[in-house]
């Protein structure tokens, strides 16, 4: 029992990331009818927002500290981040320490802007082109984004730690009546899960309770009808693209401490996210979220030693296997609507 709970928990953080990326993909898909192969790159950009902020905050100047000497007897050179000198030791270091959560504030405008530029500058011209063209051009864009990041940040993963308070683990087992140390779960993963839950909730609430959201949902159901009503759906779709980009970006920001950002992480996640979207059902937002979590958890179960010893290698292929089976038996996915992307 404890092992099962542990695996469920372990699957949650990856599942959260899948769910968030798939959610954005589905939004773009459902509203704009565009297959965005650059969505993984947006996730990656989010992670690098965290890296960037951390780098910016730790910009330092060097002073000689006459009170300390190095082993040669010269005054010791000390790097002091500007932040620390401006805000004082305590506040400055706290800001540095909390750079990842702070990067959320930094990433939102950045990602909205990236999304806006992408939609107006490129995607807009591909609404009427075949899906293959959309895949191809966004695939090219993904390569470009990825290479630009590589140019500035290098090819190696960049460790981006979470705030100190979240470094440890929570003994989750004790809370629900198990023995000590049975179910240990890192704090940050818990934070990530809660964070995703909030974002997902916010997106759904936004679509459900605002006029804007209602128009967008109507647009997802039937683009032409809404167009006939004279509502400026295109402008709303641009905003929607920005939001989808921001969701992917935020998923990336908070994922940075779990997986040290590297330039190709977007591609790695992209493939899986598409699989998630397909399993959930093209165009279904709840489907995307459900499938994200399900597949994350399934993956973590498959990597249990007990399972692996029965079916070797299952952890490597489980997600793809499920996707293939779903696609063949239920082409519409778990919760897909009729008529979305059916040929």
């Amino acid at each position: 029992m404890d092992a099962i709970i542990l695996q469920v928990l372990n699957g949650l953080d990856k599942g959260s990331a899948y769910a968030l990326i798939a959610l954005g993909l589905t939004l773009i898909f459902g509203t704009l009818g565009v297959v965005n192969f650059a969505h993984g790159a947006l996730f990656m950009l989010g992670s690098f927002c965290a890296v960037t902020l951390q780098k910016l905050l730790s910009l330092s100047f060097t002073v000689e500290d006459p009170t300390q000497k190095d082993f040669l007897g010269n005054p010791l050179k000390v790097d002091t981040p500007y932040i620390v000198s401006w805000f004082g030791d305590a506040t400055g270091n706290a800001i540095l320490n909390w750079s990842v959560p702070l990067a959320i504030l930094f990433a939102i405008p950045v990602m909205l802007l990236v999304g806006y530029v992408m939609e107006r500058g490129l995607i807009k011209h591909f609404y009427k082109r075949p899906h293959a063209d959309q895949i191809l051009v966004t695939f090219g864009l993904a390569i470009v984004i990825q290479e630009i990041v590589k140019y500035f940040y290098g090819a190696n993963p960049i460790p981006t730690p979470a705030p100190d308070v979240f470094r440890g683990s929570v003994d989750f087992g004790v809370m629900i009546g198990f023995a000590q140390n049975e179910i240990i779960y890192p704090y940050w993963r818990l934070v990530y899960f809660l964070f995703s839950a909030v974002i997902i909730g916010a997106v759904f609430a936004f679509l459900r309770f605002t006029t804007f959201g209602m128009v967008v949902r109507a647009g997802m159901a039937d683009r032409e009808t809404v167009g006939l009503l004279g509502i400026n759906i295109d402008k709303r779709f641009t905003i929607m693209f920005g939001i989808a980009a921001a969701v992917a970006g935020l998923a990336g920001v908070m994922y940075a401490p779990i997986n040290s950002p590297n330039y190709h992480m977007g591609m790695d996640f992209l493939v899986l996210s598409f699989v998630v979207v397909v399993v959930g059902g093209m165009g279904s937002l709840p489907g995307a979220v459900l499938a994200g979590f399900l597949l994350g958890i399934l993956e973590s179960f498959a990597s249990m030693n007990e399972v692996k010893s029965i079916i070797p290698g299952i952890d490597q292929i489980i997600i793809y296997l499920v996707a293939i089976i779903i696609l063949l038996t239920r082409p519409r996915g778990l919760m897909g609507r009729k008529g979305v992307m059916e040929e």
Partner: protein, 401 residues
């Protein structure tokens, strides 16, 4: 000749000539000149032209003719490479058994993947092939290690059986004694030409498979595939089941990929799982689109283009840039070098990505279409005449070329 129309025969002869003369044609600059770095006439690079040309020709039979966009063809490339290395390990370094096995294995593998994936079309098909390829890649890296030697990659070890290996037989890949990595160097004036066995082996195979693809394009089967791309509804209501046609195209293109993968291992007796990664599938997509999907020469051009510039761009560095722009005033020179810097050396992929986007956006017909447009501009007089004609006559079908 050979069951081709006169025009196609000429076309094929030109292709044969160009392929065989490649070691000379790609060596336009004398050895000691500053431009020698743009020469591409060395075996390693020319072999890659031929091999990736084969890969792209095969991919084009599927994507160019039927419109089904596979993101999983690298899996077949990998299967081909593994097959060849296994034959080295079991028999000897003769490439023939391995290549035959590569084609057979990749064909079977493509039959399996294609049979399942082709139940869906459009983006679903792309994702299914992607899923299969990633699965193969992950398995090759993990549980299939006994077959693939995992991360290290498959290679020949001293204690391998190599049952057909005798005293005098070559200890590197060969074709009945013709050793692949041997070459004849010929110096003419300041030029040096390298005629490598490996290149000619690949080139001859490339010519054969190009000829086959030409036949396929011109055959009733080829028309069926193009019809499928255009309108599957009409296909069905004409009493034709599209599935066997698409599956046949899928298997043929998988066999081309397997052959290409086998040749990679025939040139260099190694096979690694990274060859199966989906980014490798992406590369053949890039080649085909860049050159011109659905045209005969496009994929070959695209493959050559990408492999050439990959090689050249990766070699250019800042000091070379400085030497090119040294005529400019210092400040400007530094600026120009600064601007070009991200696109050269390791930045080649950035250039490629941008180029690819530009092609998809502005030149959906690829380099071939670009060439045609330029040709039309050059022969401007002609065009005007044609336009006058077009006003009176119906527009003729553009021929696939």
């Amino acid at each position: 000749m050979l069951g081709l129309s006169k025009k196609d025969t000429t076309f094929l002869l030109v292709v044969i000539f160009l392929t065989l003369a490649t070691p000379i044609l790609l060596q336009p600059f004398p050895e000691n000149s500053a431009l020698a770095q743009f020469n591409a006439g060395y075996p390693d690079l020319m072999q890659r032209f031929a091999i990736f040309g084969i890969f792209a020709i095969g991919f084009n039979i599927l994507f160019g003719l039927t419109g089904y966009l596979s993101f999983g063809h690298a899996a077949f490339l990998g299967v081909g490479s593994y097959s060849v290395v296994w034959m080295y390990k079991l028999l000897n370094y003769n490439v023939l058994p391995g290549l035959v096995l590569a084609i057979v294995m990749s064909g079977l593998f493509a039959l399996f993947i294609g049979y399942i994936s082709l139940r869906r079309s459009g983006i679903y098909f792309s994702i299914l092939t992607l899923a299969f390829a990633q699965m193969s890649f992950n398995l090759a890296y993990s549980v299939l290690t006994p077959l693939t030697n995992g991360e290290t990659g498959l290679q020949v070890y001293n204690n391998d059986p190599q049952v057909l290996m005798s005293e005098g037989s070559p200890t590197s890949p060969h074709f009945f004694g013709i050793v692949m990595n041997e070459a004849t160097k010929v110096d003419v004036g300041g030029w040096q030409f390298t005629f490598s066995n490996g290149y000619y082996f690949c080139a001859i195979i490339a010519i054969i498979v190009f000829y086959l693809s030409l036949r396929i394009f011109r055959s009733p089967f080829g028309i069926m595939l193009r019809a499928i791309k255009t309108n599957q509804t009409r296909m069905n209501y004409t009493g034709l089941n599209p599935r066997p046609y698409t599956l046949a195209a899928f298997v043929i293109s998988g066999m081309y990929a397997g052959l290409a993968g086998g040749l990679l291992a025939a040139m260099d007796p190694l096979a690694g799982a990274e060859r199966m990664q989906w980014t490798a599938s992406g590369e053949v997509v890039l080649m085909t689109i860049l050159g011109g999907a659905g045209t005969l020469m496009g994929p070959v051009l695209g493959a050559g283009f990408i492999k050439y510039f990959e090689n050249i761009f990766s070699k250019i560095n800042d000091s070379i840039l400085h030497s090119w722009f040294s005529a400019l005033p210092d400040g400007l020179e530094d600026f120009v070098v600064f601007v070009f810097h991200p696109f050269i050396g390791k930045g080649w992929h950035l250039t490629l990505g941008l180029l690819f986007m530009l092609v998809v956006i502005f030149l959906p017909g690829g380099l071939i279409e670009g060439g045609n447009r330029i040709w039309n501009v050059i022969s401007g007089k002609n065009r005007k005449k044609k336009r006058d004609e077009a006003a009176h006559h119906p527009k003729p079908t553009s021929h696939v070329n």
